[in-house]
């Protein structure tokens, strides 16, 4: 009897609380609410707010400690009209989906965003279209969120008047996937964050980086495409980053590159494609990195080592038709380049074991000279350069003696 009563009580409570979960409708005329902010204020935790088609001129909509779910009809637009933030949220277990937000205020002192999250947990931002965003999503001190299928674009005018599409600060265990971000400063930016996953995003035509890591360890990004950004991805001061199955292409310009590694170590880079970038990878002080089964196709430089980098291991990569496969300064530093495929390799394989019998030297004399005297690049494609490259290939004098692939592959690696 007593047990039955308790059971009955639970059923009553759960039914009652369920019954309390309402959907509040917002629309321009003839609804309960004509303002999103009022609906939010009136909503109880667990309620949903349905925003009907129409343009809502509102800004700084504040969701304070309330687990609610906002969703829009097709054609529901929040126009911030350059007056600050769109939404400001400090809550857990909430979601915002199917909405358009536009005209975020541009400021040189405040980071105005379409949606600003602070200390949020277990949330979802999905299918949101942002136009003329200054910052898109600005997410701080948050955890366990999903940001997916959003379309974020800025005005693409100048780096100073643009923010980042998805900006994570001090946030953990987030999943950022299937987003398209373009015409912003950085496509995706992450600072002081760990255990985040970036998957299948398309970041293009951004003025700075497609994806940018600062001081963020143990993150992974996979299956993304970074195209025509000023630089594809920059990974700086971060450890144990895993990078796989990404495409870096057409990041082309005087100071452009596909991937910049600066002061990072113990990362893994595999199955990526670097195509038509001025520089495929610039490695500046990166150590104990593993490069495996990547394709470097048609880049100006495939890989450029700038500062002291140690114990990097390149194997089973394809270097195809790059102007320079490798630019290198300093000593070998325990970096190894064995068992790669180089399209410039002209050796032979008499014992038919799949490895060329003559070692390959990936550093051309010219790329060495350019490292010493950058101005000498102006002799690119001069007959004299071809001649000295050839003579260096036959009898190396200047290039690091043991910077050699002792087992160059005879056939392209299929991966």
């Amino acid at each position: 009897m007593k047990i039955n009563f308790i059971l009955f009580f639970f059923i009553i409570v759960s039914v009652a609380s369920h019954a309390q979960n309402r959907t509040l409708n917002v629309c321009a005329q003839d609804c309960e609410f004509s303002s999103i902010q009022t609906a939010v204020d009136q909503a109880k935790p667990g309620d949903s707010i349905f925003i009907k088609k129409g343009i809502y001129k509102e800004h700084d909509i504040f969701i304070d400690q309330k687990s609610i779910h906002l969703y829009g009809e097709k054609g529901s637009i929040v126009d911030i009209d350059h007056k600050g933030y769109g939404f400001k949220v400090e809550a857990s277990d909430f979601s915002i989906t199917n909405l358009s937000i536009k005209n975020v205020e541009v400021s040189y002192t405040s980071d105005y965003a379409a949606i600003y999250l602070f200390k949020c947990f277990d949330f979802k931002l999905k299918n949101i279209t942002l136009e003329k965003a200054f910052f898109g999503f600005l997410i701080e001190k948050s955890k366990d969120g999903v940001v997916e299928q959003n379309d974020i674009s800025g005005t693409g005018q100048s780096e100073a008047s643009s923010g980042n599409a998805i900006h994570l600060w001090n946030s953990k265990e987030m999943t950022i996937r299937d987003n398209e971000v373009y015409d912003m400063r950085d496509g995706i930016y992450i600072e002081f964050g760990g255990d985040n996953v970036f998957e299948n995003n398309y970041s293009h035509d951004n003025m700075r980086y497609g994806l940018h890591f600062m001081f963020s360890d143990d993150n992974r990004y996979s299956y993304n495409t970074f195209q025509n950004n000023s630089a594809g991805v920059a990974v700086m001061f971060s450890k144990r980053i895993e990078m796989n199955h990404n495409v870096f292409k057409k990041n082309w310009g005087t100071a452009s590159y596909g991937l910049l590694l600066k002061e990072i170590n113990d990362g893994k880079i595999y199955n990526n494609t670097f195509e038509n970038n001025t520089i495929g990878i610039t490695a500046d002080g990166s150590t104990r990195m593993v490069y495996r089964e990547n394709d470097f196709i048609n880049n100006g430089y495939a890989v450029k080592f700038v500062g002291g980098s140690y114990q990097n291991d390149f194997s089973r990569n394809n270097f195809l038709y790059n102007n320079f496969d490798l630019s290198y300064s300093g000593g070998l530093n325990n970096n190894s380049f064995d068992t790669n495929y180089w399209s410039d390799y002209t050796g032979y394989d008499l014992d038919k074991d799949g490895y060329g019998d003559v070692p390959y030297r990936p550093v051309k004399l010219f790329s060495y000279l350019v490292n010493q005297t950058p101005e000498s690049i102006i002799l690119l494609r001069s007959l004299f350069i071809d001649i000295i490259n050839f003579s260096e290939k036959v009898t190396p004098v200047f290039t690091p003696e043991n910077l050699v692939d002792y087992q160059p592959l005879m056939h392209e690696v299929q991966w």
């Binding site: 101005e375 690049i377 102006i378 002799l379 494609r381 350069i385």
Partner: protein, 260 residues
């Protein structure tokens, strides 16, 4: 002069050399275009060939033509025409027939390929303009060399030497200078050094038009900033024109004083 030009042009256009030269370019650009399918790449490869081969063939061919037609030139000199018109006519005959071989050899495949629908037409035009300039410059140099050397072997030797000097040795010295003075700002110097050599100037003019110019980095940006302006284009065309005019002036000067 026009009459001399007409006949030496007819003579040259019918020669086996012209056909070989024309067919070579025709074959090369056809192969590059139809096997590679990438206009921009094809232009880069053609650039490499053009800046080496056009000067080489221009000098050799110019010297050869001069020595070959020496006796006929004497016959012409006994006619009531000025020396100036004889040599200017012969020079223009050589230069235009060489230019025509390059123009048609490169041009026909590009037109067939559908160049006019493509936005690389300007890159291609620059390549052609540069090739024509180089033909004129190096045949003018060749005439100078031949005029100053009665000994054919010496003449051919000097022709090869001049080509080597401008195509290879100059760049070697340029590179050495860059390495030696690497502590100093070198942008102005490299700009100037490039302007002085028609082969280097041609190479840079084309490179700057192509995607590959991004590789030139900071130095390339300075070059673009210079050559991209009206003043820069004016200067570079001016320098190329000077490279034709100065040897021609010297040629006419020598011709008037020389005993044949």
């Amino acid at each position: 002069m026009l009459k001399i030009l007409k006949y030496s042009f007819f003579d040259l256009v019918r020669s086996r050399w012209s056909y070989v030269y024309f067919l070579f370019y025709l074959l090369l650009s056809s192969v590059l275009l139809f096997l590679n399918n990438d206009l921009s790449k094809a232009i880069i490869t053609l650039l490499n060939v053009v800046i080496i081969l056009v000067p080489l063939i221009g000098t050799i061919f110019g010297v050869m033509y001069y020595y070959d037609s020496q006796e006929f030139t004497e016959l012409l000199m006994a006619q009531p025409i000025t020396r100036k018109s004889i040599f200017l006519g012969q020079f223009l005959g050589v230069a235009t027939s060489l230019s025509l071989s390059v123009l048609l050899g490169l041009g026909i495949p590009f037109v067939l390929y559908g160049l006019f629908q493509s936005n690389v037409i300007f890159d291609f035009l620059i390549l052609i303009v540069v090739a024509v300039f180089l033909s004129f410059i190096f045949s003018a140099l060749a005439f100078n060399i031949a005029l100053s050397n009665t000994n054919k072997i010496k003449g051919f030797g000097y022709a090869i030497l001049v080509w080597l000097l401008l195509a290879v040795i100059y760049d070697g010295a340029f590179l050495m200078a860059l390495m030696y003075f690497q502590e100093y700002p070198l942008d102005q110097f490299s700009l100037l050094a490039t302007l002085f050599n028609p082969i280097d100037l041609s190479r840079i003019l084309i490179l700057l038009k192509l995607d590959i110019s991004a590789l030139l980095g900071y130095t390339g940006a300075i070059f673009s900033a210079f050559f991209g302006t009206v003043w820069g284009s004016f200067v570079s065309v001016g320098v190329l024109v000077l490279w034709v005019v100065f040897p021609l002036w010297r040629m006419l000067h020598t011709v008037n004083k020389k005993d044949f």
